[in-house]
């Protein structure tokens, strides 16, 4: 078990910021930590990384107690915080070399170039970081988090500021790390598309408590959550031939907004429609599934 958190509580002054957080992450897993703003995600991350000591509960990260062994822990983890600050007067290569030095790692020019290429910053090393865009800074932050070849990667909004291609590139890097190098990844993000593509497990925190945790497929199945799609059909088509597992939510001209039950494979639903003679020109997924699960769970918590 890379990360195991049981009944974590944290008070800041008299204010209970974390009331009961639970989290487990295995080697090679990508865990999505979700929750509304102010739910306690960043505070949980600060406890996991040893920046804050818990008030109660048990926290084990790579077999270490972050509160008592922070330095040992920092040698083995990589962190990309939401605000990735750098020393703007340095170049990317000088900065990475300096960071590596803090880990007592000496990197050659070729190794630094390889690190930068991995995150899509090839050819950018001589320029000072001050000239970098937000997306480039995000990539550099990821390179910094990977500098010590960590066993556990903690990422807070890692695709912030990236265009769709950039996001996909980062996803590929993360998937490669988890699948082929056994790196555990704790991903803190609001982008459910990222969670959908990357994560195998999620935990949803609200008001300082874990309200839902587990494998995504199991959670979606348990919640009977449906997945939403948008179909563009040929003019004149009518929705009377929709199969039983597909529900029409709304209709605007040639666009049909439908829901497909999470129990079935959507491809089979489209096959049924096509077999029924419906002419479909475009199919777009509109979320649902995870998004609906998230909305339902957090709204229920707020109402409670």
């Amino acid at each position: 078990m890379l990360v195991e958190i049981r009944e974590l509580k944290l008070n800041l002054g008299s204010h209970a910021v974390l009331r009961n957080v639970n989290l487990t992450l295995e080697k090679g897993q990508v865990y999505g930590l979700l929750g509304p703003n102010g739910a306690g995600k960043s505070t949980t991350i600060s406890v996991v990384t040893g920046l804050r000591a818990p008030t109660a509960g048990s926290v084990s990260v790579l077999g270490l107690d972050p509160a008592t062994d922070p330095i040992q822990l920092h040698r083995r983890i990589g962190v990309l915080a939401e605000q990735a600050g750098f020393y703007d007067w340095m170049s990317a290569s000088d900065y990475l070399r300096w960071v590596a030095g803090l880990y007592r790692i000496t990197l050659s020019k070729a190794e630094i170039a390889s690190q930068l290429e991995r995150v899509g910053l090839e050819g950018r090393s001589p320029a000072s970081i001050a000239t970098y865009s937000r997306g480039m800074r995000q990539r550099l932050g990821l390179a910094r988090a990977l500098i010590n070849q960590p066993e556990l990667l903690i990422l807070d909004e890692p695709t912030n500021g990236l265009d769709p291609r950039g996001r996909r590139e980062i996803h590929d890097v993360l998937l490669d790390l988890s699948a082929n190098h056994g790196v555990g990844i704790l991903l803190c993000t609001h982008l459910l598309d990222d969670v959908d593509r990357l994560c195998t497990r999620i935990g949803i925190i609200a008001q300082g408590q874990t309200i839902l945790e587990g494998a995504i497929a199991d959670l979606l199945s348990d919640q009977n959550a449906a997945v939403r799609y948008r179909l563009r059909v040929e003019p004149g088509e009518t929705p009377d031939r929709l199969p039983a597992d597909v529900t029409l939510r709304a209709r605007a001209g040639d666009w049909w907004h439908v829901e497909v039950s999470s129990h079935i494979d959507p491809a089979s639903a489209w096959r049924k429609l096509l077999d029924a003679g419906v002419r479909i020109d475009e199919i777009h997924r509109e979320g649902g599934g995870l998004e609906d699960l998230y909305m339902a769970v957090t709204e229920a918590k707020e109402a409670a």
Partner: protein, 250 residues
Amino acid sequence: MNPIALIARKESGELLMSGRGLAWLLALSVIMSVLSLLLVSNTELSLLDNAQVVYMVMGTVTALGALLAVVLGSDTVAGERERGSLMPLMLAPVTPSQIVFGKMGGQVAGWAVMYLLSLPYVWAVGSSGQNLAQAVVYLALFGTPVVLGFGFLGIGLSARLRSVRSALLTSLITLMLLASPLLLGPSLRQSTIGKFFDAVNPFSAAVNTFDSVVIDSQPLAMQFTRLAVTLVWLALTTAFAIRSVRKMEI
């Protein structure tokens, strides 16, 4: 290279290689140049006034060094926090003690640069040779603990107050307070309170020593009490900085 040296090198690099740091050094050198150019027009100065000129330059270097140290020190923790670069540093395998010692190393480098930049000015105005060698030595001996003390005070305040503006304001007020006896003039410093303040004030200790050595040609043995005042100041501010950084939260 160990983390302390790495952080110190980064801090001093920021002074010498960043636009902000170079701008500060340029501003301070312009002040020194203006002071020197004001003197060059007066060729009727007596030998006494020349010693006073050297003394004046030494006092100015110490004051400007303290000002630079306060500006750099106030930014060193709170500024990193505001720019988002403090958290990556705290998430590296580096202890708070190593962070503070590294930043102190940066202060030492900053003063070293300031001191070296000032030597040509001291040499240029000290042409008569009255105690020029002593001026160079005593500027290092007394200027160093006073300036570094202000730098370490800035570091400590920067860690505690979590805002560059607050830390800078508090540090500057402290600097003004300690420099005030010299602005008030000798008559006010003759009162009981004035004498006491003069006796425990590290800034006064340094400047009065410069007066004694450069103008009155007194030996080192007569300056030990004042040297002790500056060293106590340095020790107290060092302890304050270390304690403040160790206790700070992200």
